[in-house]
Symmetry: C2
Subunit: 477 residues, 2 copies
């Protein structure tokens, strides 16, 4: 470790209180993007970030993305905060992404503490609060890495650019267009991208992530009567849309998770022996899944099978039905129109267009079999492609080395089951290698009640992000 | 027609304005039983009825049914208004049932007029307003029949008892117990029961109704994870409750309405040739169903098959799923627990207990086939037996004759697809013949927007109810 690097790591170690205090400050701003009544807090959080970056010496600007309709009213979208520090042409330029909005949270949802008050539980070492791990902790990690250098009077080893958005929890509205539009201006000169917005596979061993599943989301509508009918009066006389829909939905996937739509599984990249072995050594146990789901419901008791089910195979989930009776109690309605919602998680080498075609063909064939007088319409949402980055790239090598230095272990190379669409946007728009470098653990409860970030993850994660920049600087392109 | 009978019929003919005015008065009281904020109006309507019956010379009392929890607060149940006119032991005693509460209605639901203002459209002859046909018009029919006799100075041909409740649209809470408790006091001496709270089969020909389907309602819960999961992170790794539930729900009924649960269809009373012929001559056309449903979705194009599907065969409807994603839009959730709701309409000779047994056995067997680690629980609601009355009874003969006198045709003898639980309560508790004698037409839109009662149905219906009492008096027991 170089002198500067070592000084930085020690500084973070010695200034943990600063890290905690600043996290408490931002957790207290309830920047919930999905609820119009919190919109001013999202703006407040954007303003906080802009000021902080400015204080740290960054060129920073807030970019208006226009308006959106939320909860029935038109509200302004939170700005994208873009910043840059350094423009030394002899240094590499790293673009860092994060989001400053959070999921909704109410104490009554089942939190043990006030969600928008950071609580440091010294017994467990956990920092509880909405946004602690998703994604305010990681954003502060970057800021503290810069601040440490400023306080220590050290130059940063790379040029940094920042892109912090306030709409990630609500579909990143407007961000894609913004990135594409500004790829040759605000984002010009970027050599690599780093996103710290995911989690370790387990709770003990760090990982770097080079793949995400894509998604194809479908809405399958069956319409019949012009109005909801009473099942006493009409039951038996008419073709019921629910009966048709349930029949078709039951033809998509087995209880074991095998997709039964012809042409889907054939698109999946074959498993090589080499890849197969990777899953054996990952820091993972079926018990992690059991703990996360609070149940013993894995489709297999075999660790590699369960890992592969998440990382490298597609899955199909039936999410629900719009238009049917969904409340508690008993209601004897024949719904006039029902819309089944399901989605397929996509992996290499699946092509979203081809997947949509297979689904269309299958549901049409299944519907024809029903000989129903109702009508059917399948509406696919705009799909998201799967993403895989080359882990042999210097961006990844830097992350591996930095992790070894801070944690003393070679991290697992993982793929995530979910989608982070901005990853693909950066990869496609900038044509640069994108790295996912998580700070938190799998049990942090992002999006859930009692979200937390372990103080050790926060401190070591901040050391990791800074150290990664040093390793980037050393790497040969 | 006897002298008195003829005078009565003429009186109603000549006093149509009175009928309209009183209907306007009661429609203006929004006695919505399903919404706590209207509870005082339900009471007001009960009070109105009590006063009216009293003015007409009845002994009348309001009976408290205690409290209920509605919209999260405890509110008093509307009273049952019980009245009697006459106690001449040489006359028969007829018990009349009606309900003075109504379904909710807001103009914004799609009404063309204010729902709680009676509008007489002279072009179509329709009286629009919530409760006009269900069930305030029929209740007023009885009251005007009595009033006419009072005005004309005539004795009623029978003794009358009344039972008017204010909770029919909300499950008749408390009424069953009330009837059973008072069968030998308030309801002692009743010879026959008449309920005017259903509709003609079509729009042209009157009917009397001697059968109702029963119902067995089921809630099938599948539970897996302890919390909702993200389909990106967990999709493919776990047994998903929705997948299991959809598989089981798809095994209950075909799109053609055939119940595929072993042991159900075997319980249905065989169709006799004589019964089969009845369906050929009923005032019914597939076009009625098409008009009512606003679609062409009948399971058959054959009139008797469609009629029998409603009147004499069971049906199974899938109502919806609680716990799954039911909103508009796209959400990538794996719901932790989903509850499928379905019900079976019961006909003679189906036994609710045996039906529940068959369903239990079937879903257990289907669930076992899935080899899922989730858990399943079936909860049947308290079932309602099917009801059929003997149409050769003098109560029915009186209704047939009265209809012939007022409408000039022999009415269809129909069965209804739905349930009116109080029918069975009266039949079981009092052990007397119960008759359903409708006033309105099939297209009245009870429970729907723009509910109406044709003025001609109101006038002739009132004449019919009064004439029925004369025919009762003439009938030999």
């Amino acid at each position: 470790m170089s002198d500067n690097q070592a000084k930085f790591v020690s500084y973070i170690e010695e200034n943990q209180k600063k890290l905690i205090d600043s996290l408490a400050e931002v957790v207290a701003i309830p920047s919930v993007s999905g609820d119009a009544s919190y919109r001013q807090d999202v703006f407040k959080m954007g303003e906080w970030l802009k000021n902080k970056l400015s204080t740290l010496g960054a060129d920073v600007s807030a970019h208006d993305l226009g308006m959106q309709v939320l909860d029935g009213k038109e509200v302004p979208l939170p700005p994208v905060i873009v910043g840059s520090i350094g423009s030394d042409s002899s240094k590499k330029t790293v673009l860092v992404y994060g989001h400053y909005d959070v999921q909704p949270a109410l104490k009554s949802d089942g939190w043990n503490t006030e969600p928008f008050e950071l609580v440091h539980d010294e017994k467990t070492g956990c920092l509880f609060g909405r946004g602690s791990t998703d994604d305010k902790g990681p954003i502060l990690g970057w800021l503290h890495a810069i601040e440490a250098h400023k306080e220590l009077g050290l130059d940063l080893p790379v040029n940094l650019k920042f892109c912090f958005e306030g709409m990630e929890e609500s579909g990143s509205e407007g961000l894609d267009e913004f990135v594409v539009k500004n790829k040759d201006s605000l984002f010009a000169g970027v050599d690599a991208v780093c996103i710290s917005d995911n989690y370790w596979l387990g709770t003990k061993k760090p990982c770097v992530t080079n793949g995400l599943r894509g998604i194809a989301y479908f809405k399958l509508a069956i319409s019949g009567p012009a109005r909801d009918l009473h099942s006493g009066v009409f039951g038996g006389m008419v073709h019921e849309p629910m009966t048709d829909l349930i029949k078709i939905m039951s033809s998509l996937v087995t209880p074991q998770g095998e997709i039964t739509i012809p042409g889907i599984n054939e698109q999946v990249a074959p498993l090589t022996d080499e890849e197969r072995k990777v899953y054996d050594v990952m820091d993972f146990d079926i018990a992690f899944v059991d703990e996360a789901t609070g149940s013993k419901t894995t489709v297999s008791d075999n660790k590699p099978d369960v890992l592969m089910a998440r990382m490298r195979y597609p899955s199909l989930s039936l999410h629900g039905i719009e238009g049917a009776f969904a409340e508690a109690g008993s209601k004897t309605v024949i719904p006039r129109r029902v819309v089944g919602k399901f989605s397929i998680r996509l992996v290499p080498d699946m092509d979203p267009g081809k997947v949509i075609e297979c689904v269309e063909k299958h549901v049409e064939s299944e519907f024809a079999k029903l000989k129903s007088k109702n009508t059917m319409k399948l509406s696919p949402d705009h799909p998201g492609k799967p993403w895989v980055a080359d882990p042999k790239h210097w961006n990844y090598e830097a992350a591996f080395k930095a992790t070894e230095k801070i944690y003393g272990v070679r991290p697992d190379l993982t793929r995530e089951g979910g989608s982070i669409p901005i990853t693909l946007t950066f990869a496609d728009a900038l044509q640069k290698n994108v790295l996912l470098l998580p700070m938190g653990r799998s049990d942090d409860g992002a999006h859930s009640t009692n979200e937390k970030l372990d103080l050790s993850n926060y401190v070591k994660g901040t050391q990791l992000l800074g150290t990664y920049l040093y390793e980037i600087a050393k790497a040969s392109q």
